[in-house]
């Protein structure tokens, strides 16, 4: 028996070698190349990861002459690793990055490739993309990155809790303050917030700034126009301080991480949560909140002169290519392929909002219909401030806001700190 098995193994491996040789012969004319790719898709259960690998497998099948070498790390570790790697001059051919302030030093240092020529020669088909989706990837009017996902900030409400206390989902800030009072009296945190991580707290501020200042003014300010000592900035900071003072967030919000805050919301200890739509799919299908979630935009501010139906959001996560790659054309083709197919597949997984025109025939889940509906009627979008600002100003912004959440700083302190930067 053993002998037979051995024989079989030998025959099989020989056959395998022959097949492999035949396969190589077929593509002998094509040059074998290797592309080094760095990205953050590590969580195998995440819809984005599933979408990424569906696209990658398809690419590999279509390009047998290209060997893809992946280097991955989780989000925060990735940022640290990437910066160390780039500082040492070891640039992957294609890598995951973020638009706005994150990639601007790469552009200045000439690390990443200007994509204008590839748009011109048709390697990148801008017409197949959602309109204006690349807004955050232009530096001095040149395109440097292709989008991976886009998101919008939404207010997620636990409808069951609202029904229990006969409350309506808030439409205006006054409503928000009113329902918060009722929730507080019943020992429920009105709005979950994990401000230990700093970035979650930028979302409410970001959307309030859009309510007071509007998309155009805010985007202009973040892209370097004028000083932060402006009325709408002060008004937004005051509104945030009021939210904190009125107890809309838990007193301990600066001690909780974002993950812990989500848990508060999932377990019904908090009635609302405001964040990007990344978790909406998972929350509405596979969590204790499935079927109880009402998704709306952040409430309007009566009398404020900005855009009352604008969203925090847009495209930030992106792919960029090395300016020193040995196989630039292939790298850009890979990037365009992945950007487009990731958009389709991760969207089908319910993990993102599409960045390219979706041409698949998937049936949409109700929450996806809701999100698309919200996006359709929007006044405009603007990313959270830390994404667009340079790292140093972004740090002052997020640390000062953390000060407001921790009741250690006032709105005036915030404005003074920001005005000192510009």
């Amino acid at each position: 028996m053993k002998k037979n098995l051995k024989k079989a193994a030998v025959v099989l491996s020989a056959a395998g070698m022959l097949a492999a040789m035949a396969g190589n012969a077929a593509f002998a004319e094509e040059e074998q190349i290797t592309l080094k790719i760095s990205h953050i898709f590590v969580d195998q259960n995440d819809g984005q990861t599933i979408g990424w690998y569906r696209a990658l497998d398809e690419y590999k099948e279509a390009h047998p002459n290209v060997t893809i070498v992946e280097d991955t790390a989780d989000n925060d570790a990735y940022k640290t690793k990437l910066k160390t790697q780039l500082a040492a001059g070891d640039v992957p051919d294609v890598f995951y990055a973020w638009g706005g302030g994150f990639s601007s030093p790469f552009v200045d240092a000439g690390i990443i490739e200007n994509l204008d020529a590839y748009v011109e020669n048709g390697t990148i088909n801008m017409d197949a993309m959602m309109p204006d989706i690349c807004n955050n990837f232009y530096y001095s009017d040149s395109l440097y990155a292709l989008p991976l996902d886009s998101f919008i900030g939404v207010l997620m409400c636990n409808q069951e809790l609202f029904d229990t206390y006969s409350l309506e989902v808030p439409k205006t800030m006054d409503d928000l303050y009113a329902v918060s009072k009722v929730f507080q009296e019943n020992g429920i945190t009105p709005l979950a917030m994990g401000e230990k991580d700093k970035w979650p707290g930028l979302f409410p501020f970001g959307v309030i700034a859009l309510r007071y200042g509007g998309v155009g003014t805010t985007t202009g300010l973040l892209n370097g126009e004028g000083s932060f000592d402006q009325e709408f900035v002060a008004q937004s900071a005051q509104e945030l301080q009021k939210l904190v003072d009125e107890g809309v967030f838990a007193d301990d919000c600066v001690a909780l991480t974002n993950d812990e805050a989500i848990e508060e919301f999932k377990q019904g200890r908090a009635a609302m949560w405001y964040s990007g739509n990344w978790q909406v799919g998972q929350l509405s299908t596979d969590s204790p909140l499935a079927g109880k979630l009402t998704i709306v935009n952040w409430p309007e501010i009566t009398g404020a002169s900005g855009d009352q139906n604008a969203f925090v959001g847009g495209a930030s996560a992106c792919l960029v290519a090395s300016a020193t790659s040995e196989h630039k054309q292939e790298a850009i083709e890979f990037m365009a392929f992945m950007s487009q197919h990731f958009s389709d597949y991760a969207y089908e997984e319910g993990a993102i909002l599409p960045t390219w025109n979706y041409e698949g025939d998937m049936e949409l889940e109700p929450y996806q219909e809701t999100l698309l509906g919200l996006m359709g009627g929007a006044d405009g979008f603007c990313l959270a401030w830390d994404t667009l600002l340079d790292p140093e100003t972004a740090d002052v912004h997020s640390t000062s806001l953390q000060g407001i959440y921790a009741k250690q700083m006032t709105a005036d302190d915030y404005v003074a700190a920001m005005a000192a930067m510009r």
Binding site: K79, G110, I111, D251, V254, A255, G403
Partner: protein, 293 residues
């Protein structure tokens, strides 16, 4: 044997591996960091030479000064709580209590866990909603003492120090324990015959005899505090509002969050210099004390 030890080639050969490792990995990095610290550099492309600009900026930076003060405070607190506690435990364990081996292992367990695990454990202890600390305070009717330990700027720093101190008590206890155990039994017996038991024996026989170990531990503790990082990173990440920042955490965020490589390198050079100075100063201090006796 003497022949080999006198042979220069042999000496070079034996020293070479560690010298190369030390020189290549540690010394080279420090020299490079010093070079970077003189640059105004965002980590990509070319840096601009800025002389000692980063160092001047550093000593004018309120956040940095607070971080340095925090690490000094940690050093002092650790020195005066952790070491006495470790010594006390070691003395009790060596005085022949029941279950010596068991307690020795128990006290040492925190040391075997990774800092991240301990950090997570203490995060749960401090959690304002379901943490054991607030629950116990509540059960005792001390609700006025309940607070958001790591989120409140008044308590965050001390709350972050407690796990750091707690974690290493076992380590120092073990060092003290072994050196007390290595005191010759004859000395202890002789003291016993002269009537020195319990406290007298501890204060006049054991503690004086393990002085070198106490010295070593004091240096470990101070240096360890200067470069504290992991626990702070897990517990508070320097927040809220930079209240719990230590030089290492500030260095990390300067380089990796703010793209200020030059400035971060200057902080790292400060940490190296501070540690060396402290070690030298402490050794000098102990020597002066010794000669005084």
């Amino acid at each position: 044997m003497n022949k080999i030890l006198g042979n220069k080639t042999a000496i070079t050969l034996f020293i070479a591996p560690s010298l190369i490792l030390f020189g290549g990995i540690i010394f080279y990095s420090i020299v490079m960091s010093f070079r970077y610290s003189l640059l105004d550099w965002n980590g990509f492309g070319e840096g601009v030479f800025a002389g000692f600009g980063n160092y001047i900026k550093m000593f004018q930076d309120k956040v940095f000064l607070r971080s340095a003060a925090n690490s000094l405070l940690l050093g002092v607190i650790t020195l005066f709580t952790q070491l006495p506690l470790a010594l006390l435990l070691a003395l009790i364990l060596t005085s022949g209590v029941k279950g010596e081996g068991f307690f020795r292992t128990v006290f040492f367990i925190p040391m075997t866990l990774s800092s991240v695990v301990i950090g997570q454990l203490w995060l749960k202890i401090y959690n304002p909603n379901y943490g054991i600390l607030n629950s116990v305070l509540g059960a005792l009717g001390l609700t006025s003492l309940q607070r958001n330990w790591l989120g409140d700027v008044n308590t965050a720093l001390l709350s972050a120090f407690v796990p750091i101190i707690w974690q290493n008590v076992g380590y120092h206890m073990l060092l003290f324990y072994t050196s007390i155990k290595s005191i010759s039994q004859e000395v202890v017996e002789a003291a016993k015959l002269d009537g020195a038991t319990g406290l007298t024996s501890a204060f006049y026989i054991k503690i004086p005899l393990i002085k070198p170990m106490i010295r070593t531990c004091a240096i470990f503790v101070i240096i360890g505090s200067m470069k504290a990082f992991d626990m702070i990173y897990v517990l508070t990440n320097g927040g809220p509002v930079h209240m719990t920042e230590v030089p290492s955490s500030l260095m990390f965020s300067s380089i990796f969050n703010l793209n200020k490589y030059g400035y971060g390198s200057a902080i790292s050079i400060f940490i190296v210099a501070e540690c060396i100075l402290m070690a030298v100063a402490l050794q000098k201090l102990f020597r002066v004390k010794d000669s005084a006796i």
